[in-house]
Amino acid sequence: MTVVTADGGPASSLGQGTGGALESPGGAGGLPEPLVVEHVSVRFGALRALDDVSLRAEPGSIHAIIGPNGAGKSTLFNVISGIYRPVEGRVLLGETVLTGRRPHQITAFGIGRSFQNLAGSPYEPVLENIMIGRHHLTRTGFLAAGLRLPAARREERLHRARVKEIAEFLGLTALLPVPIGMLAYGDRKRVEVARALATEPRVLLLDEPVAGMNAAETAQMAATVRQIRDGLGITVLLVEHDMSMVMSLADRVTVLDFGQRIADGDPAAVQRDPAVIRAYLGPGEQDGPGESGGPAAAEPSGDAASDASPAGREVAP
């Protein structure tokens, strides 16, 4: 029973060797369907948080969404998961229109999401916090649970077993009984991902999964994300400030700035895109650090400090 070996082991342990053993949960998913965002606009008063943004996340791909702070990445996630309603445009999963449905219904269609901030109930153990992801897959109501009907007990047991598998997948097995308030930051982030995975999504929205993690944890999370795509066949939408992670993981990258899509393409193309470089470095600086800089160098980390500045787009040295 170890904490560190299970989690802190080399990232490769998750990336290789286990790949073949993991099966797709596609039984629930049916046909692989793309997640399509069509001309979405969101306004907060006079502020245009998103302006005619479109993207298409191919099934089984990792699709990154990047951009400076305040570009609208989280807003886009909030639109996809139904928390914000766009004034224009819509979101589809295959043929199914998600826009206009309530968040819990969208979850039931197979959109899972991990949050950027630490979510969950701090006094509840890891197991309980992941179990909440099973909510829409389970039926037990007050009466059945209160009377401890056999069906309710069986359901609880089956889903606990499944949650333990998911926890194992993320190297959280040893931490299952620990209240998440007692966990280290990186562990708590992994609980978030496990919780999102527990909803058995077809599309997984990961909101800055490695923000605040150290290098080893980041590498491990990158391997996990890759595993989620390759082993489980889940489409991953990734918002992340760690550019080296984004560029090595993503199959496709969409860049937002001031609520608008300024680039969309494969990582290498996006990295070379002048508009992207301008967005990260600010106007008039594009001749400065040059291409060697690029987004990867320009965005040191997604730390919260830069949120405080209204522009939030300082130039990295």
């Binding site: 907060f44 989280s74 909030n78 928390i83 949050f115 950027q116 901030n117």
Partner: protein, 303 residues
């Protein structure tokens, strides 16, 4: 028609008093997100102090001491109880706000038990100099008490809005309410802002009791706290975080209450004493349509 006019004016006057009480809820809520359920008992306490002092000191001095006393007690409560909890940060999350709000209920229990015990079944008079005088305005006759309530209410509300809008405290309070973290970064001392909010709320409650216990009511009895409760629906109708909402809510409650009581015979199919229940009925109806009240801001949660 003259009945209607008379009821309307009475309602507006009573509504101004409710607005004074509701403003107290609102400013405390704005700065601390605590709903002060002890507000009604503070008002009762103020009335009791004034009624006991009047024979000794005369009306004006008694009222002044009553207002100062309740305001001081209100601040003392904030300093000793609420600031302490808020500062220690021992409790966090929604349970924390519930706990703080329940603490005001604890205060309410103690104050009300004590004042009710002292009052017993007796009715004390605050000996308002205007007594049971009434004024005739054309076809309408209205108690002087109500007219004065209206006048004083309007003046105090205007003064309050001026302070709220232009004073440093008002700006600071609004800043704290909008964005506590930024407010703190800009050097706003939330503790002081909060203490002043409690001070003003206490003072307004003590002013309100003078008119709540005047003509045509018999005087101060323990049930005046329940009357003051009508300011809850007033605050909610307007929106708990909106000062102009408190004014609007107070007027709405005062007017519907007055009309429902005045037309009790016509409304007898709704049961006797419908007037006391009607503010709550209006509140529930408005909440169904607008869950944050008429002027309240709907919460925009960040994730």
């Amino acid at each position: 028609m003259s009945t209607f006019l008379s009821l309307l004016i009475n309602g507006v006057a009573q509504g101004a008093v409710y607005a004074l009480i509701a403003l107290g809820f609102v400013i405390i809520f704005k700065v601390s997100e605590v709903l002060n359920f002890a507000h009604g008992s503070l008002l009762l306490l103020g009335g009791y102090v004034i009624a006991r002092l009047v024979p000794e000191t005369g009306f004006a001095a008694a009222v002044a001491i009553g207002i100062a006393g309740v305001a001081a007690l209100s601040v003392a409560m904030e300093r000793t109880l609420f600031a302490r909890v808020t500062r220690s940060g021992a409790v966090v999350g929604p349970a924390y706000l519930a706990a703080l709000t329940i603490m005001t209920l604890g205060l309410d229990i103690i104050i009300v038990t004590d004042i009710s015990r002292r009052l017993g079944p007796s009715v004390l008079s605050l000996e308002q100099p205007w007594g049971i005088d009434a004024v005739s305005l054309g076809p309408v006759t209205i108690a002087t008490n109500r007219l004065l309530a209206l006048g004083v209410g309007v003046v105090l509300i205007l003064a309050f809005f001026a302070v709220f809008r232009f004073s440093d405290w008002g700006v600071a309070l609004r800043a704290c309410a909008e964005d506590p973290q930024t407010a703190a970064l800009m050097g706003i001392r939330r503790g002081r802002v909060s203490a002043i909010a409690w001070l003003i709320a206490g003072a307004l409650a003590a002013v309100a009791v003078v008119f709540l216990t005047g003509s045509p009511t018999p005087g101060l009895e323990a049930s005046v706290r329940t009357v003051a409760f009508a300011a809850f629906p007033a605050a909610i109708i307007g929106g708990l975080d909106s000062t102009s909402g408190a004014l609007a809510g107070g007027l709405i409650v005062g007017i519907v209450e007055s009309l429902a009581s005045g037309y009790a015979n016509e409304l007898s199919f709704l049961g006797g004493n419908f007037g006391a229940a009607v503010p709550y009925v209006v509140m529930l109806l408005i909440l169904l349509v607008r869950p944050a009240g008429l002027f309240g801001t709907r919460e925009l949660t960040r994730v």
